[in-house]
Symmetry: C2
Amino acid sequence: MPSYKAPVEDVLFLLNDVFEMSRYANLPGFADATPDVVEAILGEAAKLCENTLAPLNRVGDLEGCTRHADGSVTPPKGFKAAFDAYAQGGWIGLSAEPAYGGQGLPYTLGAVMNEFSSAANMAFSMYPGLTMGAMAAIQVHGSDEQKQTYLPKMIEGRWTGTMNLTEPHCGTDLGLLKTKAVPNGDGSYAISGQKIFISAGEHDMSENIVHLVLARIEGAPAGVKGISLFIVPKFNLNADGSVGARNGVTCGSIEHKMGIHGNSTCVMNYDGATGFLIGEMNGGLKAMFVMMNEARLGVAIQGLAQSEVAYQNAVAYAKDRLQGRALSGVKASDKPADPIIVHPDVRRNLLTIRAFNEAARALVLWVALQSDVAHRSGDEKAIQVADDLLGLMTPVLKGVLTDVGFDNTVRAQQVFGGHGYIGEWGMEQFVRDARIAMIYEGANGIQALDLVGRKLPANGGRAVMAFFNEVGAFLKENSGGDAGLAPFLGSLKQGLEHLQKATMWFMQNAMAKPDNAGAGSHDYMHLFGNVAMNYMWARIAKVALTRKGDPAMDAKLAVGRFYVERIAPETVAHLSRITAGADALMALPAEAF
Amino acid sequence: MPSYKAPVEDVLFLLNDVFEMSRYANLPGFADATPDVVEAILGEAAKLCENTLAPLNRVGDLEGCTRHADGSVTPPKGFKAAFDAYAQGGWIGLSAEPAYGGQGLPYTLGAVMNEFSSAANMAFSMYPGLTMGAMAAIQVHGSDEQKQTYLPKMIEGRWTGTMNLTEPHCGTDLGLLKTKAVPNGDGSYAISGQKIFISAGEHDMSENIVHLVLARIEGAPAGVKGISLFIVPKFNLNADGSVGARNGVTCGSIEHKMGIHGNSTCVMNYDGATGFLIGEMNGGLKAMFVMMNEARLGVAIQGLAQSEVAYQNAVAYAKDRLQGRALSGVKASDKPADPIIVHPDVRRNLLTIRAFNEAARALVLWVALQSDVAHRSGDEKAIQVADDLLGLMTPVLKGVLTDVGFDNTVRAQQVFGGHGYIGEWGMEQFVRDARIAMIYEGANGIQALDLVGRKLPANGGRAVMAFFNEVGAFLKENSGGDAGLAPFLGSLKQGLEHLQKATMWFMQNAMAKPDNAGAGSHDYMHLFGNVAMNYMWARIAKVALTRKGDPAMDAKLAVGRFYVERIAPETVAHLSRITAGADALMALPAEAF
């Protein structure tokens, strides 16, 4: 059975040494997050994930969720106890507002816990994950009364949350949605319609489930401008806020999925269920995006998480499995064969994964810190810069970390040869689980379009210019420094040039012909991710070079070198595909496909 | 439920127009394969695959194979009847020797049937597939008596075959294998040991199962030089060749696999089972390679096949699913949204798959024709050239077609958004089934090493020089021809230069330091595949350009252009990774992983 060890040391290195988290001590919640407190918190997080969540990962896959005839759903054995432990540890409210019982700690630490728990048990981590997403929407758009009613219970883990967007005929294009909301006359609405793919939609792990549901109020404008967001509790609430009678929402069936079997992904039927408008009437999309943005970062982290746990297990196998002899001569002469980690191609697979994992983790923390600044700073200018970067990087992280994260689970599986294809070894589950992250919360094609079509041009390109300036400034500051940094700076400089050329090409070619933006969007997203990770490697290397001789730091430099030599060169192919434009894509008539 | 339509037209175009199969009429079996006969055969093949095998694909996945307490195994419902239809159609002996009841038709046609049946139902196609692999070994290495005893029954489909190589502790490194063979004194051997991952290992679809088993004769040398190949029938044969008492071989369990559930992949226990040496004593590896080479091409074809069926279903969905509006303006104003095939990024996914499929199919047929020449020609020189190319291209096809074929099933799944993750749509099965092809019959890392370490240097590089000369001659002959061919020639010329540079780099850097070969082998294999497919596109385009205005030919040119603009540019990144050498891979000590 696979195992998992949370990369606490690496996170501490990134937070303390690369990003110098202490610089943010003036932000609310950061003063409490001193290095020793952070270390203690991450130690507890690691313990819960390694000892409680990870052992349930395969059980959850094999057992899945069971829907009973009455529509109730039982999650896999052990999940309820694990959820209680998660809630009692205070993890749901880790970065939530103290006014509602949260701990108010940095969101950045929540992102770390998200990585650990998703790596240990992705299907499980979605139960608290969806709850936190729903909490975010209530926090931002809910009335005071709604916040008072829902947040404390959700933070405690007594109630959980869901997001209800998709319908059978509409996923990406929410303008098509049909779920109806009819005013009841008492301020509430009667919600009717069918939602599909609802993660954590029904289960018995919490006393109540707070469904956030997009629906169309009778008479509302067509399209996305007529969508409103509603709170629909599984059980109606009594006047004192306690759980009352069952509401008109039921689980119609559980989806038969490729993976994340431990999560109860439901078809939810709303049949005149009582719902309460949250945020503005017809402003549902905006309210939903609060959830979506946080959820997109969460999904990006799932990509990293599956890549990390798959890597760890592939390494263990590669050190253990004896097969063949090293090309450069026998290494383990006392054994019938050498461990396969001697083979360059096995190392290529492992290092491809690791060079991604360590840079992706840095990227997540860097962006999470922007999120904390954007949401907690009092400085308008700082907020704007951070919010720009957060908006720009969210689709990049969602698309790139889940695409590459999935590829990496496949690479790790490959290290196992035939055993990788067999359930008992656990590697194929990582592949199946990781696959969904490329799809949900906006399929990666949508992320790419969001990046190129919305985030790039927003405010005259202010966000992307800020990114270019930051990387450009780093290059300037550090050129002529430690010679060991030169390869990192060299490939970063080249990547940045390719990214700038691609950006310029869109400016010149996509206005008149929007298909040129769509045609290059996927490559642009990956080009951006490649350069952003190169930037992270350069920042990591800069610190590591000051501590040569420390094995962990020497390993960083070796893995970073691999990135520079093997992964960075992909930018040139991305650029050439982008500048090829849309013609070859649009030439074929639809009927000729 | 997904559907499948065999690409008969495309195969006929390739065979008749691109490769001019009529040029081979002097080879045994080819004179019978006139264009109208071939068309009729492929029509029958298509019918069987579309109507009988494809409808069983999801059934097979859901139901899987059942092992009963007595060790007997029942395949999914419908498989036995389908196997009977397959056998009665004469498909098992399509290209087998007429002396034993085969039809003696070109192997090339067998490769086509392999594509169709693997696309329709990969798990099913492995039952006849393994049988044909075992037949090949008996044909080449069996005694006259062994051929007479086994081949006719196998060609009829009354008996099936298996390949038994892998043991729990040894897959790639067969030198480690432990299965024992002890002489019985009567010319037979008692075989004892355990084999794992045995496809079609046990089932009730045939009267007998002919296991080909690698084992070590008592006292044989250690390592691969002490391995012999044995025929071990499930039921011993009576003196008249009829099926007698049960032999000492049983299915211990069925492996729990990620996919190909319809195939009974078994742990096989040999407990003093009666076996008969086939080929030379201690020459088992050589005999096994006859099966392996054919099997490797067969697996390459599985990669193409899954990519093709996934493409077809993704296209159907993309034309049907309404979501969003075209970037260039509304296309289906009568509908609530445009079909998603209007979106450039959806087309990018589809065209990436199709540009591969059509070139990969060409490559398969081109190599299959080499195989026919190598095995049927009477001209020593022609045999040598064909055999060289066959040996060179086999690992390229196995590695590239299964790697990219798998990626393409993932791309096709992505087109479906959330529905791609749901079992009922069938797309996730293609992903799970396709995954095994990267692993079995030599994991793709082994293919890459076979290419770089054995096939490249063999006979002083004769094979690769022949490939370079052929492509070079094509470039020379066609430069200055139709202007429409220029982009194909341009990218082919550049790709060939990159491939030649990479080859040269190995010659200069891998002799002294073999790790340099291992470190670049994966990229070299994919670089080779990229150039070979570009070559196929150039040959296809050359024909298509003579028939502009024909929609099928215009589509070829459009898809080929996509290849040239979007896929061909990857060669530069491969070259730069290859020439980076092994240092970055080998720097990290094993304990630092």
